[in-house]
Amino acid sequence: MDNDKLILGGHEFTSRFILGSGKYSLKLIEAAVKDAGAEIITLAVRRANTKEQENILDYIPKNVTLLPNTSGARNAEEAVRIARLARELGCGNFVKVEIMRDTKYLLPDNVETIKATEILAKEGFVVMPYMYPDLNSARDLVNAGAACVMPLAAPIGTNKGLATKDFIQILIDEIDLPIIVDAGIGKPSQACEAMEMGAAAIMANTAIATAGDLPLMASAFKSAIEAGRKAYLSGLGRVLSRGAAASDPLTGFLRD
């Protein structure tokens, strides 16, 4: 377990929990980061671009990697501009590409995301694209230079859990990059399940932001993600998916 690292763009992380920050009170972020053990925290550039005295950047511990996102971008061109602005603001080389042409469900646009990923990867960004779990798109993202693939579990903010479970499993099975489950995870048990499936990390925001006790929920996620990871690494036991196993093997008649 000690050598089990999450590697993104050549950077090593011990924690497999990425914390979203969009819906918190700033004063709670620091505690949540600490209790969740998060080493990566997202930051909406549109929000950070402020004169506000209480800037979110002041609440993020220095040893945490900032993951600016392109929230608000409606196409690849806008996402690229926001990513470049993030770099100018001193947010480093990581960028989470989020492109939405839909304000109702905030579903990501895979086609534009692939275009932006290609441009930004060439410019040296560590690109973490948020996407709808489609295998063909995921392969295109790999070819475009993504550092990982971030499929949604359910529409953002819904806390509905692994609504796209089967498709995320396909990505985990077929894509060689880390698969980080993003959006829709509402409970620690769902995060644990995704990790058992082989997800490389979990990103969550609303599930913690809407909890009664934020630091406690952050800590619950930390434990659940670690448990799921351990289960995955240890190899899950036999699961009887359809009916019972026959006590007399069907192939028992074979002689040689």
Binding site: G22, K23, Y24, S25, L26, A44, V45, R46, R47, N49, T50, K51, E52, Q53, G72, A73, R74, E78, R81, I82, L85, M100, R101, D102, T103, K104, Y105, L106, G157, T158, N159, N205, T206, A209, T210
Partner: protein, 416 residues
């Protein structure tokens, strides 16, 4: 009881008074409010037909407790569920609606509350809208800020910490041309992260020009979706043309604006039908322009200079709260703005349930920010459009929101 809107100024000439009275009393002296005037662009849109057919057939008395319960049980709120939530049958369920609304607000916006302020740069108006303090027959001090004055006012507002501004004018193309407003927007971009406008409706190419000047959000209040009532309240001027106003948000989106805001002025007509139409206006435009950001406001009528009797009739705070909760449950993804027309206590309560944006440091007058912010009256001032109820400064609003455990946000925006 109907509002008493008509007030005669002693300074109007005999001829002007005669014309005013004729407009008020003789419908045949008024133009056809459904007919476009010269220069008004006509777009082919089915949004209006969809909205109006629902509104016309909406009989809120037929909804029962059973319909309301079903609406609250459904995971997704249908149009029919929304109609039930707006009905009188839902009034006993206000607390339940508030709980559901708070849940939806949390899912989509977390605990954030956005803060903005309006700036009126001119109060000249060519319309006679009987409930409005700026109406052309109302005897008020008129004023239009010069570009220097606009810059000075905006600097004062920006120095208070504000990052989002909404530029307003009275509705007069002659006094406040699109170019004049465009120049104001260019100045605003120097001082603010986000610039919106609430001006008279314009054509698509003019919205495109204003977008190039730095505007990204357009607010147009339809006032009332009841076209017959609209005709009786907007007696003169281009604002009288109801359908041109209805299509304003769609033209703004066609002109490249990122977002649009909607509202009826509750208290002018049947508020339940107006609330239904406002939300469906958003609903159908969102289906057509899914990338666009949308928001709803919910102003109630307020007293104006020379007429302190104007009031929101049967829309009390409970009804307003019901409308806002129903909006939130039906359209969980839209922004909801509650202006300083409402009291501090109402606004403090509603931001915990449904509202996501409030104004602060508000003046509805022209050129008086220096006096209101710094206590110095350095220049001539124009009178106010209506009385506000919540005069909190940005600093006070910021600390009040924080104390409620919410997160005040001054900017969530990038002009890309």
């Amino acid at each position: 009881m109907e509002n008493q809107f008509f007030v005669d100024s002693s300074r109007l000439s005999k001829k002007a008074l005669e014309r005013k009275h004729k407009l008020e009393t003789d419908p045949s002296s008024r133009t056809n409010h459904m007919e476009y005037m010269d220069g008004m662009e006509i777009i082919n849109s089915d949004v209006c037909d969809n909205v109006m057919s629902h509104m016309k057939s909406y009989d809120y008395t037929k909804y029962t407790v059973r319909d309301v319960r079903a609406a609250l049980d459904h995971e997704t709120c249908s149009i029919n569920d929304f109609k039930a939530l707006l009905s009188p049958a839902a009034e006993p369920f206000l607390e339940k609606m508030a709980e559901r609304a708070r849940l939806e607000t949390g899912k989509h916006f977390g605990n954030t509350v956005y803060i903005f302020t309006p700036i009126y740069i001119a109060n000249y108006c060519e319309n006679y809208c009987v409930y409005c303090g700026f109406n052309c027959y109302n005897d008020i001090r008129r004023m239009k800020l010069s570009t220097e004055q606009i810059e000075r006012e905006m600097k004062i507002i920006a120095d208070s910490g504000m990052e989002e501004i909404l530029i307003l004018t009275g509705e007069s193309r002659a006094q406040s041309s699109v170019e004049y407003i465009g120049e104001a927007c260019k100045i605003a971009r120097k001082y603010f992260r986000m610039v919106g406008i609430e001006i008279y409706p314009v054509n698509t190419d003019e919205y495109r020009y204003l977008h190039e000047c730095g505007v990204d959000y357009v607010t147009v209040f339809q006032e009332t979706y009841d076209t017959d009532k609209y005709e009786k309240l907007h007696l003169l001027g281009h604002k009288r043309v109801w359908p041109y106003r209805f299509d304003a948000q769609e033209r703004a989106l066609m002109g490249g604006m990122r977002g649009v805001a909607f509202s009826a002025l509750l208290g002018l007509s049947d508020f339940r039908k107006d609330a239904l139409a406002s939300a469906l206006h958003v609903y159908y435009l969102q289906r057509k322009y899914p990338h666009a950001e949308m928001s709803l406001s919910c102003p109630r009528l307020r007293p104006i200079i020379n007429n302190d009797k104007i009031n929101p009739l049967d829309v009390h705070e409970r009804q307003l709260c019901q409308v806002l909760c129903a909006y939130r449950i039906f359209l969980p993804f839209v922004g909801i703005t509650v202006s300083s027309r409402e009291s501090a206590s109402f606004r403090n309560g509603i931001v915990k349930i449904a509202a996501t944006k409030v104004s602060a440091g508000v003046s509805t007058g022209v050129g008086d920010h220096e006096e209101k912010y710094d206590g110095r009256a350095s220049q001539e001032q124009g009178d106010e459009q209506f009385e506000i109820a919540d005069g909190r400064t940005l600093r006070k609003m910021y600390s009040d929101i924080s104390e409620e455990g919410l997160q005040p946000v001054l900017n969530d925006y990038l002009y890309v």
